[in-house]
Symmetry: C2
Subunit: 457 residues, 2 copies
C-alpha cells in the first residue's frame, strides 16, 4: 500500500531550454549541476552543522583559513559595482525583477485548452517565498480572455431583491468604508490532473492555480445595506463579470454578508487587468471562479441561479455518474514547494524543506511532513501571522542521507479536518472528476537528487 | 497655538501635467474636477447614507428607477470587452499594471541631491492600499547608484570575532532554515523637510521614504551561530554593502540576535536590484540605512565602528550643536494618506479617511484622528493582523460639511509612546536636524476641497 508508483508525464514546456532551476529554489543551473556531478562539489558541502550536529559532514559555506586568510579571488578582485557609479533612482518609475530572474514566469500548459484566451497560466510556486504572490506572477484563468477596462467608464449595478437598485462608479465605491485583508485564491480545478494519475512534473503545474494577496475593497455587505436588500427573502446573490464569457456565479447570502468583498486593490496597488481591473469579487475560501473578475453586476435573489458556470462547469462528477453541485469551498490542503518535481538536490546534508498550507474553512493549525512516503511524520514550523483563509508558509529541517525518499505534507485546519491521501479521496469521489482535489502530494527524491511527482497509495 | 500657518512650498514635479489625482485615491482627473466644479455633480452626490444617516443628502451612487428601470446607456450599450475575445493567458509572463495606472510611479524630488545615483525616489503613498508596497513602487535611496548583481558570483563573508570565518554563496544561504516576516522600512530622513517648515506638498514627498514587505531570508543569528561568534565579547556587528559607497553600519548584538535577517526575497519573489538583489540586511525597526543592500560582509566586534555613515551622516543635530549618534530606531509615527496634500475632495458628504501607522518599537495599539487641527480626536479602525515593526492601516468615517478642516492622525504603540506634535518635538530636538522627524502631520482641507500641507502648533 505504501509502495510508490511513478507515473510522471513530462510536459513539453518543462523540457524547454532555460527552464532550469536556479538560485530561488536553492538549486543551481544546468551548468552548475554538471560541474557538481563531475566532481567540483566544493561550493555546496555537507550538512548544516548548527542544525544537524548528529550527522557527519563539513559545514555549509566555505570556511576561511583563520586570521591569515587573504580572501577568495572573487572578493579580492573588486567587481565593477564596488568601484563605479550605479544606476540613478527612479530610472524605472515602476520597477521590474532582476535580469537574472527572467525565467521566473507564469506559464500556460500547452494544449490544455484550444484557445489561449480561455486557458490557464500557472504561478511558479517552486520559486516563490513566504505567502504573498507578487502581482506579476499571480495565476490566470480566463474564460474569454482579459481586458484592460477604463475605470472611469466602468459601473457596478446592485439590483434584484433590494429596496433601491443602484449603479456605482469607481469613485462611488472608493469613498466607502474599506477593508484590507490577506486571502488565498485557488482555482477549483487546481491539481485536477492528479485525479486521473496524470502526474504532471512540476509544482507550477500541479498546484500553480494558487495565489495569495492583500486585497483592499468594500465589504459586499456594505453595498447590500446601502441598497436595502431584502433580509427576509434574499437568500443568494449572483455576481456577473463584464467580460465576454459573462461569468455568473451564485453565492449564499450568509457568505456574502460574512467576508466577501468588492475589491479594487491587490498587494497595495490597483488590481492587474488579468485579475479583474478595476474591480473583482473576493470570496474568501471559495474556489477562484466565484471571485468574479471585471465585476459589473450583483443581483439579490431567493434561490440559486443554476447558471452555465455552476451546472455545466465546476461540478464534481461522482462515481455513480451524478454531479455534485455548488461544491465551492476549497478544503484544507498543502504542498511542499521546495524540493519539488523537476528540481535536483545537489548534495547530501542539511536542507530547509518548505511549502504552503491553506484551508477555505479558516486557519491552518498544523502541518506534518513525512520523508518516507507517509510512514513517519514530523511537525513543521509555521510562519506567523495565522490568518483565516490565507496561505500559511511552513518550514522543516531535513538532512538528506542520499537514499531515495518520498516527501509529503499533510495540513490540519482549525475545524480539525485532516488533508486526505489520494486513495481516501478517490474512495469517495472516484477518479473522473476535475475539481476539488486536495489530496496529499508526494515528491520522490531519487539517489541522483532528481525530484519527481509520484502517487503514493 | 492651534492656529494653522500655511507654509506650502510647491515643488516643480507636483505641477507637472499628468500628475493629477485620479481613481486610486477616490478622486478624479483635472477634467473631471473641472466638470464637477462647473456644475455636473451628479456622479458623486451627498453623504453615504448607511454610515451618516444624521446628515441630510442623497446616497452615494446613482439610484435606479425601480422595477421599470431599463438601464443606463453605459450598461445597455455593451462595450467591446463584453462581446469580444480578450487577451490570452501568459501574454505577459511577468505582468505589469493597467495602462490607466501609468502615472502611478515612484518619483525623484529634483534638486534634492546633485547626482541622481545618490538620491531618493519616493513611494506614491497617496495611491497605495493596505500595507504591502508592491515591489515596483518600493522607495529607493542609494548612495552610489544601484546594480543588478549576478547572484552566482555574489558572496557573503562572516568574519571578525568568530571561531570560524566563512564565505557563503547564495546556494549556501538558501538551504539554511528560513523565515518570512512582514516589516516596514523607513529612511531616517523621511519627513526631514518638515523640520525646517518646508512643507512639501504631497504625502509622496513628505512620507514616501516608507515601504512595507514580506521578507524571506535566514536569521542573522543562524549565521552567527554557524560561525561560532564570540558570545562574551562580541557586542556589535558591522554590515557592509557591495556597492560603490561601501555602506557600513553598526548594529548592537542584542538586535542582531533578535530579529535581524539576511533576506533574499521581498513579497514572494527575489529582491529587486534597487532593493539589494541578491541579498540585503533586514533590520526591523531600525532606519533604512541599516538595512544594508547588496550585503557582502558581516563583521563581529566589541565596539561600534563609527563609520562615515554613522558619524558624518545619519546623526541628529541638536539645538546645542551636538550630534546625537546611533539614533537608529524609528519611533512611533502615522500619516493620513487619503485625503492628503495635492488631492482635491470633490464633494461634501461621506468619505473614508485612511492612512498608515508604524513603530520601530513594536505593535501599533491605537490611532486617533482629528478633523479640527487637534482639538477633538476620534479613534480609527485598525486593520488586522497586528504585527510588530510592521505598517498598520487605519480607516475612519468622515462626513465633510464643506467647511475648512485640518486632518491629523496620532499613533500610539505598545510601549505607550504617543506620536508627538511638531512643536513638542522641536522643543527637544530643535529645527536644524534632518533625521527622525516623527511628528503629527496636518493636512488642511479648504472650502474648495483642495488639500494642502500645513504645520499646526
Amino acid at each position: 500500500m505504501d509502495r510508490p508508483r511513478r507515473r510522471v508525464v513530462r510536459m513539453p514546456t518543462d523540457a524547454k531550454p532555460g527552464r532550469v532551476q536556479r538560485a530561488p529554489e536553492g538549486f543551481l543551473t544546468q551548468q552548475q549541476i554538471a560541474a557538481v556531478q563531475s566532481g567540483r562539489r566544493d561550493f555546496l558541502r555537507g550538512a548544516f552543522v548548527a542544525a544537524s550536529a548528529a550527522v557527519a559532514g563539513t559545514a555549509i559555506a566555505q570556511p576561511l583559513r583563520g586570521s591569515d586568510f587573504k580572501g577568495e579571488s572573487e572578493i579580492l578582485e573588486l567587481p565593477e559595482h564596488t568601484k563605479g557609479l550605479g544606476q540613478p533612482v527612479a530610472a524605472r518609475g515602476y520597477g521590474s525583477p532582476s535580469q537574472f530572474e527572467q525565467n521566473l514566469q507564469r506559464r500556460e500548459s500547452p494544449g490544455l485548452t484550444r484557445v489561449s484566451a480561455a486557458s490557464v497560466s500557472f504561478a511558479p510556486l517552486q520559486a516563490l517565498f513566504g505567502i504573498i504572490t507578487p502581482n506579476g506572477l499571480h495565476f490566470e484563468r480566463h474564460h474569454q480572455g482579459w481586458w484592460d477596462i477604463d475605470p472611469s467608464k466602468h459601473r457596478l449595478m446592485v439590483m434584484g431583491m433590494v429596496k433601491q437598485p443602484k449603479v456605482y462608479t469607481m469613485d462611488d465605491l472608493m469613498r466607502l468604508p474599506s477593508v484590507s485583508r490577506m486571502h488565498f485564491i485557488e482555482c477549483g480545478a487546481n491539481t485536477g490532473m492528479e485525479w486521473g494519475n496524470v502526474a504532471v512534473p512540476t509544482v507550477q503545474y500541479t498546484h500553480g492555480m494558487l495565489s495569495c494577496c492583500e486585497y483592499t475593497g468594500v465589504l459586499l455587505s456594505t453595498l447590500l445595506d446601502d441598497c436595502g436588500f431584502d433580509r427576509k427573502n434574499g437568500k443568494f446573490i449572483l455576481a456577473e463579470g463584464a467580460d465576454g464569457s459573462s461569468m455568473t456565479r451564485t453565492i449564499s447570502m450568509d457568505r456574502a454578508l460574512d467576508d466577501v468583498m468588492v475589491a479594487w486593490a491587490m498587494n497595495g496597488e490597483m488590481l492587474r487587468p488579468e485579475n479583474g481591473y478595476p474591480i473583482r469579487l473576493v470570496a474568501p475560501g471559495l474556489q477562484g471562479v466565484s471571485w468574479v473578475k471585471w465585476l459589473r453586476r450583483i443581483e439579490v435573489g431567493d434561490q440559486p441561479w443554476a447558471t452555465k458556470d455552476e451546472t455545466l462547469h465546476y461540478v464534481d462528477l461522482m462515481p455513480d455518474g451524478v454531479h455534485r453541485q455548488y461544491s465551492s469551498i476549497q478544503e484544507c490542503k498543502s504542498v511542499i514547494t521546495t524540493p519539488s518535481g523537476g528540481q535536483t538536490i545537489l548534495d547530501k546534508g542539511f536542507h530547509n524543506v518548505t511549502g504552503l498550507a491553506w484551508s477555505g474553512r479558516g486557519r491552518i493549525k498544523r502541518v506534518d511532513v513525512s520523508f518516507d512516503g507517509g510512514r513517519n511524520w514530523r511537525t513543521a514550523r509555521l510562519e506567523n501571522p495565522e490568518m483565516p483563509k490565507c496561505l500559511r508558509r511552513f518550514n522543516i529541517d531535513w538532512v538528506w542521507n542520499g537514499a531515495p525518499a518520498i516527501l509529503q505534507s499533510r495540513a490540519i485546519d482549525e475545524t480539525g479536518y485532516v488533508q486526505p491521501k489520494i486513495n481516501q479521496l478517490r474512495a469517495v469521489r472516484g477518479s473522473r472528476s476535475i475539481y476539488h482535489n486536495n489530496a496529499i502530494q508526494s515528491w520522490k527524491v531519487a539517489e541522483t537528487g532528481e525530484v519527481s511527482n509520484v502517487q503514493v497509495y
